[in-house]
């Protein structure tokens, strides 16, 4: 019996409010950009079927709110992630500075089995703005940071123009798949079996 893990790949998109997480997800899944996306409240996800090495996978892409005040919600959403996408806005220094926090927060809350090798992908978004003239974080700086964190793959994207979005998500899917397969060692097929009765017997539920 094939494990659920093999077909469903869970990806979490994190980053400061307004860096373009929702826009990137929609550009990738629905191939469109809209000025009318609302600020994300709580969390939501989109799914997309991807084919890889002749196998079909469902990519489940989670989009969460960027405001730090809502981070305590993360614990409910991060668990079981196969890949984490960190997004910043190349025109906003703080969004880049915060990447480290997002990464650490994710590792704490998601508690992947092998944090050292957990796959991240970094996206520097909104490269289209003002023809690149308002940019404050250089590609070099971003790549240096990625290298220092264990060679995180890096892409410069525009959700608006659809630049590099497809390419980035291919790498995201590939890395999620790799981590998903490694996790199978720890996650045998017994995922739901026998857990219900135990759960029922547990004590306080508040």
């Amino acid at each position: 019996m094939p494990s659920r893990r093999r077909t469903l790949l869970k990806v979490i998109i994190l980053g400061d409010s307004g860096v373009g997480k929702t826009s990137l997800m929609n550009q990738y899944v629905n191939k469109k950009f809209s000025n009318q996306y609302k600020a994300t409240i709580g969390a939501d996800f989109l799914t997309k079927e991807v084919e890889f090495e002749d196998r079909l996978f469902t990519l489940q892409i989670w989009d969460t709110a960027g405001q730090e005040r809502f981070q305590s919600l993360g614990v409910a959403f991060y668990r079981g992630a196969d890949c984490c996408v960190l997004v910043y806005d190349v025109n906003v220094q703080k969004s880049f500075d915060d990447l480290n926090n997002w990464r650490e927060e994710f590792l704490i809350q998601a508690s992947p089995s092998d944090p050292e090798n957990f796959p991240f992908v970094v996206l520097g978004n909104k490269v289209d703005v003002d023809g690149g003239n308002s940019r404050v974080v250089s590609e070099k700086k971003a790549r240096a940071w990625c290298a220092s964190k264990g060679n995180i793959p890096y892409f410069e994207t525009s959700a608006k123009e659809g630049i590099n979005v497809e390419e980035a998500f291919q790498v995201i899917a590939k890395n999620a798949l790799k981590s998903g397969e490694e996790e199978e060692i720890y996650l045998p097929d017994t995922i739901d079996v026998g857990s219900t009765s135990q759960q029922r017997a547990s004590g306080c539920d508040c």
Partner: protein, 657 residues
């Protein structure tokens, strides 16, 4: 500024009684410990503190004192907090309140973090946050001992101080990610339930612990009762221990048998007790209403049998929902006003609005009352005066940020960040509405200015996402900048805690929601419990912004004015949540939705919810829950006015860790 209550505890009767109670129950604990000492792995009390107290309301005089214990059993550490029996400072706090707050042997593996508050004046307290995301109300240490508490925990479980906030202690959570292993708490959700390392949850030894240390307190709470019943009887549909519900299902049956009768009298004719209302429901006509709710869930592919609704809710909504009325119009409005413009009978007005809402052109005037910007007994002239005074007050506050020069802003990071957030959000708020669409829309500018001014008016709260959603309809109705601002201020008096940094306002509402579902639909509650959905995060957006994203704009306006009447309860929004969940309970349980699927399902309900039937159901549920419902909602839960102790704590260095 609020003055914290400083009590001299020595002449406090409640305190003295509590102390006595504490010492007598100590010996009971000892004896019970002995009686279970045949167990090879006996529970050991490693920490015990008396007079640890919960303040369920904003009044410091209302409180529930109890004993806090840390219990070690095997390699697991548990925390209990049991209220003292029979001691209550105030008649309003019943045994039921105590049961509601009792903490029964919660294993530390279920605890995510502990936040310590050490105010300069007043008692120290801690807030325990569970890994489900819910939190217990603050535990005040009247006799000190927070440090010792944390130090004891540290001896038995891994805790680490959060790098973000020195007063937050993360439990089972390693700061260095490399050290982390597949620890019991942090496994992926799907695995955690079945993994051996977490299997001590609900093991027989856990039961034994409950019996050995807790039953002597003779506080049988609902959960305990439920557990016992469950053992006897595996049909969850019959697993209702709450007496009142049994009574109500009798009423349902009675009502069904009296279909031929038709009574047109008003459902609720005052603020009378549930008793009175019950009589009225029993006489409701239901044929007429049957038509309305036939469309619910009948195309559902039922894959598993679903426990039936204990309230026979489908029928209940047929029988009891009060039909919605037409909105309040100008002519009728004038009958509520005396010659000088005072509202003679605010309650009658609220009731009228609760059942019908307000016609659009009247909203600007009436919302001012509902939100508390105008007082009901003000005259036309007084209101005019208020408007002008408030206008200049608004300008003064607005000027505070308007006068910040670019040079100054360069050195004012917080200001720039706030402004940046607001700028990003106002252009993402209701842009599809013509009132806010297009480039350089002046109303978007107004929204920006009001939010930035608010973040100066309430600098501690600042700006948080979701606020623009709350402001948008208010500005749309009020049109005027200053009036919209002050109405928004009034709304946030009540909903501000939704946006608190520690999220306590949201936690208490989600906690109340879970209690209410447990009360009103035990099978659904059990389903959520078994599927790790008890944190109710799928209702987060509903609650945070009062369903703003769930209905068309016009319907949101209607819902809000109904909620703001606080007519049957301040917390109608929680019953609205339950009404919506109940309408889909068959689908949720039948399709065996897990947390992810449920969240997606709920998010996609946006725009699909029919407001009027939901409001009727919500009212019926609220009346049905009666006092038990009210008791399930911790006092201070928004939109009730918040507990007045949040702003007086400060960070302190701690010698424990």
């Amino acid at each position: 500024m609020h003055e914290p209550d400083i009590h001299d505890l020595s002449d406090d009767a409640d305190y003295a009684a509590a102390s006595k109670q504490g010492s007598s129950s100590m010996s009971r604990t000892d004896s019970s410990k002995r009686s279970s000492s045949s167990d090879p792995e006996d529970a050991e009390i490693v920490y015990l503190k008396d007079n640890v107290t919960i303040h369920p309301t904003q009044y410091a005089t209302e409180r529930i004192s109890g004993r806090l214990k840390l219990i070690k059993q095997g390699s697991s550490l548990f925390m209990t907090w049991i209220p003292y029996k029979g001691q209550s400072s105030n008649a309003r706090l019943s045994e039921r309140d105590k049961n509601l707050y009792t903490i029964r042997a919660i294993p530390f593996s279920d605890i995510q973090s502990i936040r310590r508050h050490t105010p300069t004046i007043g008692w120290q307290y801690v807030i325990v946050v569970l890994s489900s995301g819910l939190a217990y109300p603050p535990l005040y240490f009247y006799s000190g001992g927070v440090r010792e508490f944390l130090a004891t925990i540290k001896q038995h479980v891994l805790i680490a101080r959060s790098s973000e906030d020195a007063n937050v202690f993360l439990v089972n959570n390693f700061q260095d990610p490399l050290q982390r292993t597949l620890s019991s708490l942090e496994l992926p959700r799907s695995l955690a339930k079945g993994s051996p390392s977490s299997s001590f949850k609900g093991t027989p030894s856990d039961e034994r612990l409950d019996k050995g240390t807790l039953e002597d307190n003779q506080l049988s709470n609902n959960i305990q009762q439920n557990n016992r019943q469950r053992q006897k009887n595996h049909d969850p549909a019959r697993d209702i221990s709450i007496q009142v519900l049994e009574k109500f299902s009798l009423v349902t049956r009675f009502a069904r048998e009296t279909t031929s009768q038709l009574f047109r009298e008003s459902l609720v004719d005052g603020h009378g007790p549930a008793e009175k209302r019950r009589n009225n429901w029993a006489s409701k006509d239901h044929q007429r209403q049957e038509i309305a709710s036939n469309d619910v869930d009948d195309d559902v592919p039922k894959r598993v049998p679903v426990a039936s609704d204990p309230l026979e809710f489908e029928k209940l909504s047929l029988v009891w929902g009060q039909p919605r009325q037409h909105p309040l119009g100008l002519e009728e409005w004038s009958t509520f006003l005396d010659s000088e413009g005072r509202v003679g009978d605010p309650n009658a007005l609220k009731k009228r609005i609760f059942y019908g809402g307000v016609e659009h052109n009247l909203r600007k005037e009436v919302w001012g009352f509902l939100l508390g910007y105008y007082s009901y007994d003000s005259t036309y002239a007084e209101r005019q005066y208020v408007v002008s005074v408030k206008k200049s007050e608004y300008e003064t506050i607005k000027n505070q940020w308007q006068s910040i020069s670019p040079e100054q802003a360069k050195r004012f990071t917080k200001f720039r960040e706030r402004r940046g957030l607001i700028e990003k959000d106002v252009v993402r708020t209701d842009r599809s509405l013509s009132f806010y669409d297009g480039d350089d829309n002046p109303n978007v500018r107004l929204m920006h200015d009001i939010l930035l001014t608010y973040s100066f008016y309430n600098f501690d709260l600042g700006y948080c996402q979701g606020m623009s959603d709350l402001l948008s309809p208010i500005l749309f109705i009020m049109k005027d900048e200053s009036e919209a601002f002050w109405c928004f201020v009034s709304l946030l008096e009540r909903l501000g805690p939704n946006f608190n940094r520690d999220q306590n306002g949201m936690h208490s509402q989600l906690f109340a929601l879970s209690k209410l579902v447990e009360l009103l639909d035990a099978p659904l509650h059990n389903y959520f419990k078994q599927n790790d959905c008890l944190n109710y995060f799928f209702c987060f957006r509903w609650i945070l912004i009062q369903f703003k994203r769930e209905f068309e704009y016009e319907k949101t306006l209607r819902l809000w004015e109904v909620l703001w009447t606080h007519y049957p309860t301040e917390h109608l929004h929680l019953y609205v949540c339950i009404a919506i969940l109940k309408r889909h309970r068959v689908k949720i349980m039948g399709e065996q939705m897990d947390f992810d699927t449920l969240l997606k399902f709920i998010n996609e309900l946006s725009g699909q919810i029919d407001l009027d039937p939901v409001l009727r159901d919500a009212e019926a549920l609220c009346v049905c829950a009666g006092e038990n419902g009210a008791a399930s909602i911790p006092p201070g839960t928004p939109p009730s006015l918040p507990l007045q102790d949040g702003s007086i704590y400060q960070q302190q260095d701690d010698e424990v860790l």
